[in-house]
Amino acid sequence: MAPGSDMEAVKRAKVLMVGAGGIGCELLKTLALSGFEDIHIIDMDTIEVSNLNRQFLFRQCHVGQSKAKVARDAVLKFRPHINIKPYHANVKNPEFNIEFFKQFSVVVNGLDNLDARRHVNRLCLAAEVPLIESGTTGFLGQVTVHVKGKTECYECQGKPTPKTYPVCTITNTPSKFVHCVVWAKDLLFAKLFGDRSQENDLNVQSSDSVDASKNTEDVFERNPDEDLENYGQRIYDHVFGYNIELALSNEETWRQREKPRPIYINDVLPEKSFQKNGYLENSIDVNMAISAMPALGLKSPQDIWSLAENTKVFLEALSLFIKKRVKDIGNLMFDKDDQLAVEFVTAAANIRASSFGIPMHSLFETKGIAGNIVHAVATTNAIIAGLIVIEAIKVLQGDFNNYRMTYCLEFPKRKMLLMPIEPFEANKSCYVCSETPLILEINTRTSKLRDFVEKIVRNKLGMNLPLIMHGANLIFEDGDDIEEDVASNYARNLDKVLAELPSPVTSGTVLTVEDLQQELTCNIIIKHREEFNEEKEPDGMVLSGWTERANDKQSSNGESTSSVLTNGPYVASGKPLVSGTKRKLSEMEEASDNSCNPSSKSNSADRENPQQVDDNDVLDDLVILEVPPEVPKKKKVKCFVTLRKAFTYLMSALQVKRWSHFSVYLL
């Protein structure tokens, strides 16, 4: 496949690049160098310092500016005559509709979240434009090609939606550090500094004290003339001491679990006079970000603080918020780049962890978890960008037999660091690119429409501006142009349980959910169910009906998301999707350079991974079986057969039903 030939297709092409971050910078550069002359970029973000280690089109002086625009300016420097159009906007905006997408010959994604990816996937399907998807995390990456009618769409293989945790695990029974972080960030931090009117599960209910909540609401309010030190200690004792005692009073919970221990200030810091006024004033340089660490002599974010140190940070950070950032209190959202917020959350999470016997973590690690930080390096992004452009060129040249999904591995597999696999055919039961009804098990008497909309329609189905219909009745709609009285009707509906909606939704009802912008319609059959397992089914509802493909549950695209209760970067296992139930049989070995390849096959290479028998690649190689040399020449026969056929034959001959390890001796 010589790149010189048919570069006309590249020159004429109009490309849409979504995302101008880690992958985007590398991709834009490579597209420009490869002869693309008309590139449009959509990115809603602005540049941050932590981007500069890999997003090389940006400089320190660009911090705060639009990524799309700065990227474009940087590339024009070495390719001044090409057309690059930046959009500093969210790709989910209505302006980027089907008509908009239709103008492009190919769409290339450099996104970092599942939500946007799904949205773009649907628009590409509707506009019938090929999509090249990609993702990276650390040293791992992948590039996948999606062409309607030829390959599966991005959603044919289920992608894991952001992980959520059962409320009781967060409020009552944390067992991992991440649970403590979520508690510290989404409950405690939110309660103290965030929107007071938001519902908050912070207060542990003992089994039957309903009136306890009334009093504890006031606990977090600070009296205007209350001593700062006193307030801090009061909060501390309440959440780490009193609340734990309350939880312990419910014996049932702790029958099978290790009990937490309550922690009170006096136990940790017996000398009360650690916090002197002078302390605070000296340590703050007006030009520096407000931070608790310097005052306490804590220098390195990599250190794991002791319980006493965490306690001091907790109190100091709380004081600093009140003293120096009183304007923020009441509407603050956690931001991973807010040093003081990260310090507070680290301290709070660690103290709670200590209480529950969970190992404590450094600020650096906690920041990563709380901020859903994806670890990233320039090299992987560069490699993936190169692979994307190679696929894009194939798409433009109509070279569809050579489309590949390529995986960039950290450790070589069968000598390969870059592993190409043929794309899969479309999943016939994919609710996105083929129209299969789904089934939702839900308690129609206790679940509200709001829950359905949030958990299913938005989260699981990834719809942005949904419309929900029950037969001919429109029971909910989202959008900017809805009349007031209609909108308030919808708002009323949201608060009703399904069975009590004006047109009641009960077992057997079929709801039609649509997103007009994405041109996606789903039919959902409702099945009433009374009980749900709080641990295993934390949403209280279960959506099913599409056939998941094997091995796809571990896939991750190095995403960071902004959902409230989320998991961090460690969910990315990056295992390549080597699932093969619907693979096309093919010759993988340098197809265009040679037509046959003698190989002597042994399976020792596969033994290093006894759990993962990726037999499909092995089986599809051609094997030449030669008759041993002692047979006279004219009787020699070369038999070309795939290993798959050989084993199928063997298995039936030996009446073997299953195999996991096998040795083959070829003579």
Binding site: L33, L52, N53, V377, A382, I383, I388, E590
Partner: protein, 331 residues
Amino acid sequence: MTMRLRIAMDGEELTAQQTALYDRQIRVWGVDAQKRLSKANVLVSGLNGTLAEFCKNIVLAGVGSLTLMDDRLVNEDAIHANFLITPEEAKHSGSSLAEVYCNALKEFNPMVHVSVEKGDLHQFAGVFLDKFDVVVISCCSLKDKIAINNKCRERQKRISFYTVECRDSCGEIFVDLQSYASAKKKSDGTEECQLEYSSLEEAISSSWRHLPSKTTKTYFAMRVLEHFESLQNRKPCQFSVSDLPHVLEIRKNLCEAQGLNEFHIPDILLNRLVAAGAREHPPVCAILGGILGQEVIKAISGKGEPIKNFFYFNAADGKGIIEDIPPASVY
């Protein structure tokens, strides 16, 4: 923003500036690896599109210093696969490639010391190499590459040596870490092992008939082209389509001498490589520059399993393959 030459000593913490800038990559390879990177000195000789990518990668990663050697003047051909050179510079600057690269790369990370060294590396005495931890060569004759590699091996200090070639949409990376202690990943953890690398001279004189028959065709193709260049006394990558018959003849002779069937080095592949000459396909530059960047970072930081000892990428099949070519002396 002031440029800071940072000479980190053992035990010295990274600055707040470094911690903020390198946050995302520290999460990948850790603080210690980052500190080691900041002390490392890299030498690159022979600059092209692939090396532009490589240099960008290691400067962003935060190496201590990068020294560039290439006195060839910038011209319009140079911008083809290169994002470090503007069309203006290509036409008017009168600067050398090294100078132009230096000016561009400095901007990517002011904490890295980027500089130019004039002259031809193969003419420098071995002691010059002691300044460096890593040496990367391209655009150079085989003879010179071998000479530099041997000089690296003669030094007391262990110097990591790499070559990289990108022709059309195909590429080869060679790695020589001499004697290297590596932690190899096993299914139940990691295991320390000592890797012994061959020199370049040894690795390319390996007997073809003894190599596994699935060895990447590109390995053989590159050797054929090297032979051609040596015999014809050509500058590296100076081919044209008219050379093809001669190249095919060399293939025939080599295969006969080495006992290898000619179909291991297909016409199509040689045709592509010869027709391309020194022309690099930009996406492949990104891939090779990325892989090479990762390798150098691994060698400096001591983290991760390094490639031993060749890496190939061919856009025709999309595979990125490691080949462990043993030295000729094994047989």
